[in-house]
Symmetry: C2
Subunit: 233 residues, 2 copies
Amino acid sequence: MLYLIPLPLTDTLTTDNLLIPQAREIIASTDYYLVENVRTARRFISSLKTGRAIEQLRFFELDKQTNLQQIAEHFKEIPPDAAVGVMSEAGCPGVADPGQVAVQYAHQTGKKVVPLVGPSSVLLALMASGFNGQSFAFHGYLPIQKQDKVKALKQLEKEAGRGQTQIFIETPYRNDALVNDMLAHLQPHTQLCIAAHLTAPDEFIKTQKISDWQKNKPILGKVPAIFLLGSLL
Amino acid sequence: MLYLIPLPLTDTLTTDNLLIPQAREIIASTDYYLVENVRTARRFISSLKTGRAIEQLRFFELDKQTNLQQIAEHFKEIPPDAAVGVMSEAGCPGVADPGQVAVQYAHQTGKKVVPLVGPSSVLLALMASGFNGQSFAFHGYLPIQKQDKVKALKQLEKEAGRGQTQIFIETPYRNDALVNDMLAHLQPHTQLCIAAHLTAPDEFIKTQKISDWQKNKPILGKVPAIFLLGSLL
């Protein structure tokens, strides 16, 4: 079994409150982990106080660069019938995060893949945006270079106008620059949802027209944020 | 507060195991609900045994046809400071399910929207597919008419080949017809993931080439299923 285990989106005291009992049970009986960040994974597992000694668990690193060959090497050190957990730094492994290559290996070698229910900023933001959830696209990061970014934004605005909700993220320290670019270059009537620090006590989610955002420009700072362009019913 | 409360994807004994403690707490202290199906919502809330009398809760229907005006009417019967829960029939409200219009009303009237962590077949399938989770699109249902459906499938195959994972669903009684159409009309090397009965004890998730599916054609029957075309790393 390859368990895909979502991690909390934020490092808060509310973590326990957001974990399904099944995830706790599976972690309590799993010894092998493929993880994006060993320190984060250890700390998360320790915080659950499952009674297992953390030193007895084996962690293998799995990041954006990890390839199928390396995953196969890791599995040579794992007993064939052992349960293996996959964890990214935050949220769902394989969704805007590493994990894909481990899943691919599992499908190719006939292991059962079990995705667990947990937080995804993409999904939470989509639910809370009020935008079309029958048709949507997630694009990850937009181009860094300003001219390309503005061009991409205008293309997404067009698609959103056609009814497909457009979802994208930005590196936290560039959040406010991205907001500035949207306020400067998108149409006044375009609907923008900004969702920041999801699941945290200071969670912020708001959907309004670009012209309304302009009247009251948000300062996000360096929090994890996600942006959506969409149409209302 | 408008709480967006995901419901279990399947009607099984494992429900409790898949619910975050926060959702239970919120349901225990919420009296007003906008729900896709009153019977399902009542049964779900009852199953949690929160100690609240189900007769004291107020349910308003919210389906695909419900408009903003009707939501506004419902809110006239709800005290301004009361917490309101939104529930669709299964999974996350607003994602491939009704709910959007209630969220839109909340944004327009300055209510705080709080999306809760819970099961989404779209997200679980994407995680478990092994396909690109940095770029993906969900399309809901494909056209019913065969010629249009095949045309849509070929277009999705093209997009998937360019690296954007393509996700779609089908009415359960048409699952096997859709699989037949894919096996007949997509390229042999195209990667298809089929995810059926997610979170149920007989959950089935498999990713392989069309040519491999052809060798061993799946019979899904009338279970909830989700389909993905994508590229491997």
